[in-house]
């Protein structure tokens, strides 16, 4: 009962290992979730595993009381009605604007065509960034590897998340602008935040101390 009956949405992928390490330090049994990567729901431990971008959906609806996901996901889904309680500090990465190395094709497109095409998995963050900086951009939403888009002439630039920049470099892309920094965050459902206030506050204290 180390989560005191709270249901926690665990992100699969890049944030998962450090999330589970944190849960170990809190005394949550992560044995089963570590060894079984097909199972999704671990009732005994109070854990539900899912894609990071689904965490706000489950938490907003109350299907999970609390969850862990990246600030990048929260920024992209800014309208979700969830509480952002704590910066967990792990999983640091940056949202960047990148184009192919050499002369910046996006700048040229902007100058000569008045608009640049930008591929991203984060259409709202990208649109907001170019609006804020006064540039016209046509946002192309892609689901898979964003790096492919500028190499094939689909777009002039990309907005994507990078931790080390290795994937960008290997594809001949250079970072032109940094848009935002991101780390893992603990979020809570607004109703659980009231009805399970004591359990959530105790968990926050233990995470801060862990």
């Amino acid at each position: 009962m180390s989560l005191e009956g709270l249901k926690l949405a665990v992100p699969r992928g890049a944030l998962m290992a450090e999330t589970l390490d944190l849960l170990d330090r809190l005394g949550v049994d992560t044995g089963e979730i570590r060894t079984n990567d097909r199972k999704l729901l671990f009732k005994g431990a109070g854990l539900i595993s899912m894609r990071p971008s689904d965490v706000p959906t489950y938490v907003e609806a109350g299907a999970a009381d609390i969850g862990i996901t990246g600030k990048d996901v929260l920024a992209e889904q800014a309208e979700r009605d969830v509480y952002e309680l704590l910066d967990l500090g792990f999983g640091p990465c940056r949202m960047v604007f990148a184009t192919v190395e050499g002369d910046d094709p996006a700048a040229e497109a902007l100058r000569r065509l008045g608009v640049m095409r930008v591929a991203t998995k984060y259409p709202r963050i990208a649109a907001r960034h170019f609006e804020r900086t006064g540039r016209q951009a046509e946002i192309v939403e892609v689901k898979g590897s964003v790096e492919l888009a500028p190499l094939t002439g689909l777009v002039e630039g990309i907005v994507d998340l990078t931790a080390t920049g290795t994937t960008l470099r290997e594809n001949g892309l250079v970072i032109r602008e940094e848009i935002a920094a991101s780390t893992a965050r603990l979020i809570a459902n607004p109703v659980s935040h009231k009805l399970k206030a004591a359990a959530i506050d105790r968990l926050l204290e233990r995470i801060r101390a862990a």
Partner: protein, 311 residues
Amino acid sequence: MIHPIPSGTRDVLPDEMRELRAITEALREVFEAGGYGEVATPALEYEATLTQGDPAAADPAYKLFDEHGNVLILRSDMTIPIARVVASRYAAAEPPLRFSYFAHAYRSVRPQRGQAREMLQAGVELVGAPGPDGTAEALAVLCAGLDAVGLENYRVGLGDASLYPRLLDRLGVPAGARPQILHELVTRDFVGLEREVAVHGHDELLRVPQLRGGAGVLEGVPEAAALRAVYDRLEPAVAERVIFDLGLIRSLGYYTGAIFEVYDAALGAPIGGGGRYDDLLRRFGRDLPACGWALNVERLHIARVGESRGA
């Protein structure tokens, strides 16, 4: 044949309607017993009339032109229309005035989110009864209504819209820094709030809005004195439903004091809410304190069904 209806709207068929009626009839009995006479107002109002009450609060999703070119809006709640009714039809009536309603309200929706464009609200407005007594009465009617509907595990979150602004005053936070601080609070981002208040060096700015729980959380917060006064006037059956939440924020701009929201563990979102709006009637020409609340009948129904399934 497929004949679509707008997203966020729906048809109600007899089985569901019977259950919704059972809920609204139970509420209606409680409203009548408390002296809250039922009113109906037009779904369409002149924009110029409603924005007089609160330019921001009206914020209607649907505007249209009538045959003379006047701008009409579909009401987004019942509080402002009832404020208009009080000022124009009860201009000389002796307060307090008590009204109830069952009415559809209209809001804009975000795509693919399952949000309702048209929602059935049941609520009351208590006009001319200042806090804390008026607030306590509104809360008592709220709990009586929820009890009559048969909801068992509901709780009422109780906060104060003026609490945080007064805290900022007491701590002397400069006016220029406040919009960003309030933005973090409204967007429920305590990570952002911590960053924004760090430069002011007052731990209370971060600690107070995270206080939730029993009456004990009011201790040591001078701005919570008004909430304490409300609490002292609640019957035990109502008081035991209350969870104080010193960070509670409601999206409508006209609230001036106590605010509340209704929760049930069977639903991830509030079932309804309300609060005090002591300045709204004055803008319509009758300077009376008031408070009220509205329940979303469809959400109430979902919570009721969820509870009976043992959620």
